[in-house]
Amino acid sequence: MTEWAEVAQTRQGLYRFFGEALLPPSKERLDLLEQAYPVLLERDLDRYAFSLEFRKFGKHLPVDTSATALEVEYVRLFASGMSKALSPPVESYYRVPGKGGGMAEFVADLQREYRSMGIISVGVGESPDHITTELEVMSFLCAAESRAWEEANDAQAFDLLAKQRNFLRRHLVVWIPLLRRRVGRASPVGFYATLVDAVHSMVVHDKDYVSSVLRGRESS
């Protein structure tokens, strides 16, 4: 596998990892995270600035509270319905003033954007603007990029990088900091605080990293 393909695959794995971690916790899911964490770390993550926050989150694995306690925390933070959750993990909540009908329009626009990127259905059971969905979209794009590098199709790989950059700029990098602030106020320490910190660090870094790669290509 070419090194560029490996980097893309690592990023794919990270987005998938974070997406899983932000789904409702269960013993099986937590075990999976515990197994995946060292595998990802071994992929030379210390090259990248976000590895500091990733390592901080890793200190919470294995989870030292019961899955039940974590479930309660998950519901409290993310899943008590839009009006009661302390930090709803959906983009439209943070981006649409006044909520209501505007949110539906926002989500419809997002679905159109997915289709324009060649993503027909987003099927993890959550809404198109749920954080796990958006992270899964990035995972999909990184996987496609990895395949393009493997096939020596540089043009397609850079095209996919441009799509990733645009998606990060327009969406994740805009609202994840707001989510992070809410989680930080509601639960300043612990599993979900460090997890959201790590996600925030990853998406901010990824936007800068992908932009730098594209800029380097544009000037060559």
Partner: protein, 471 residues
């Protein structure tokens, strides 16, 4: 915070003196060896002796031992540097004062062009410390755009009361940090507390004379000069004159600015650095006629300048404290007009000013203020808060008529007198509820501009406030 100090052992002439440092064989070529010697410290100073040492690789290893590389101090010493213990002590103090960074502060840097060869393997990014804007402190909503005005790369944009920062085009120089009147922009690698800690450590108790050079981070080779110690900044164009004065007041025997190259600053900020140095020297001359200070090719040297306890001297808004401290021993009150002054004095032309209060509403430091009392609206000015940012000039609708003037000036009489009235006039009040509507002069001016056909509308606008107009 605990600081681990790691020195490459390959150059035996590098002496760390009494500093508790860990010497590591071939650290320059094998930075991964840091891992084996990690002490669990929160911060790090890494001393290398080869200019070709790979900073990106050092940063990677630091992350693997849970140290934020943006706060780590990496020192590259030239051959036969000798005793660098004082330099290391300064860097350790600076590292210890590092408060951490946010993900927004790390800017990955790749080679400028990605050749076909580079396409074969992803380069290891080096990370620079980029600034970030605190939206809770930023005064953009009131019209301030000081960062937009000073950025040499146009990385900032003001739109609809918000500042937008483009990290992609930013080449961190620090100008925005020192230019922001509100202190809303910070760069974690050059925080005020870090500079203060480093300079205190370098100057020590004053028993051995230490001179301080502010050096550009882009400078590739630094020729050591005996008795001069380097304090690195992203670009010397960010160094204001008051920092040089503060450094002398903290006990340094001299100050200098060393730009990145003799052929000129690539960001075009040479003039800023020269101006800062000249301002500091002119200020010293005002104290005692220049009897105890000299300016030569190396920098400014002083003798007999009394040390002062300054509070947070490298933070925003400390210029008044610093200049008053300097001039307290001057034989007479001081007036120093200089383009490099970090203090300003605002004056109003009562013929042209309409008391619209745009200037005071925009003033990001509160130096300009306004208030309503009875039938009067008054504009006031506190010179200790004015940082000469010029935002008041930009928003004044009558600036072409000379309604407001700003002079870059240190005036100790004014600084000691505190807030004073600049101009006052009559305020129109709502005939229904009594709330202030607008200054009379401003409404007269608007009426003049609109012309006679709007006389009726103006009468309505000047008799009722916006809440009562429809009633």
């Amino acid at each position: 915070m605990s600081v681990g100090i790691y020195v490459c052992a390959d150059d035996p002439t590098i002496e760390s003196g009494s500093v508790d440092a860990i010497r590591i064989e071939s650290l320059c070529r094998h930075p991964d060896r840091l891992r084996e010697h990690a002490t669990g410290a929160d911060r790090a100073v890494v001393v290398l002796h080869e200019a070709s040492a790979d900073k990106a690789a050092v940063q990677k290893v630091l992350r693997s031992i849970d140290i934020d590389p943006l706060g780590a101090q990496i020192l590259e010493v030239p051959d036969d540097a000798g005793d660098v213990s004082r330099l290391i002590g300064g860097l350790a103090a600076r590292a210890a004062a590092f408060l951490g960074s946010d993900p927004e502060n790390a800017k990955p840097v790749f080679p400028r062009t990605m050749t076909r060869r580079a396409l074969l393997r992803p380069p290891l990014p080096e990370y620079l410390a980029a600034p970030s804007v605190d939206p809770d402190v930023c005064e953009a909503a009131n019209g301030c755009r000081a960062c937009v005005d000073v950025c040499p790369q146009e990385a900032y944009r003001w739109q609809a009361g918000r500042i937008y920062y483009n990290k992609d085009i930013c080449e961190p120089c620090g100008r925005c940090v020192t230019a922001c009147p509100a202190g809303a922009i910070t760069n974690p690698a050059v925080a005020p507390a870090m500079l203060e800690a480093q300079i205190h450590a370098l100057v020590g108790d004053g028993s051995e004379r230490a001179n301080i050079r502010f050096v550009c981070s882009r400078r590739l080779l630094r020729t050591p000069v005996d008795g001069w110690y380097d304090v690195e900044v992203p670009c010397t164009g960010m160094v204001p004159g008051v920092w040089l004065v503060a450094t002398l007041l903290l006990g340094a025997g001299g100050v200098a600015i060393v730009p990145c190259s003799e052929s000129g600053c690539p960001l075009g900020l040479d003039n800023s650095a020269r101006q800062a140095l000249d301002f500091a020297y002119q200020a010293l001359e005002e104290v005692d006629g220049g009897k105890n200070s000299t300016l030569d090719d190396v920098g400014i040297r002083v003798a007999g300048l009394k040390r002062r306890d300054l509070v947070d001297p490298f933070s925003t808004g400390q210029a008044a404290q610093i200049m008053l401290s300097l001039f307290e021993t001057a034989e007479k009150e001081t007036v120093l007009s200089h383009p490099g002054s970090n203090l300003g004095v605002v004056s109003i032309d009562p013929e042209a000013c309409t008391l619209c209060t745009q200037c005071s509403q925009t003033c990001p430091t509160g130096a300009l203020g306004h208030g309503y009392e009875g039938e009067t609206v008054s504009l006031t000015f506190d010179p200790t808060l004015c940082v000469n940012c010029g935002q008041c000039l930009l928003v004044c609708p009558e600036r072409d008529a000379g309604a407001i003037r700003l002079e870059a000036r240190v005036d100790t009489v004014l600084l000691k007198s505190g807030r004073r009235p600049l101009y006052e006039g009559t305020v129109l009040r709502c005939e229904r509820c009594g709330k202030p509507i607008a200054p009379l002069k401003m409404m007269d001016r608007i009426g003049d501009l609109l012309g006679e056909e709007f006389t009726g509308a103006m009468k309505h606008l000047t008799s009722r406030c916006v809440d009562c107009r429809g009633l």
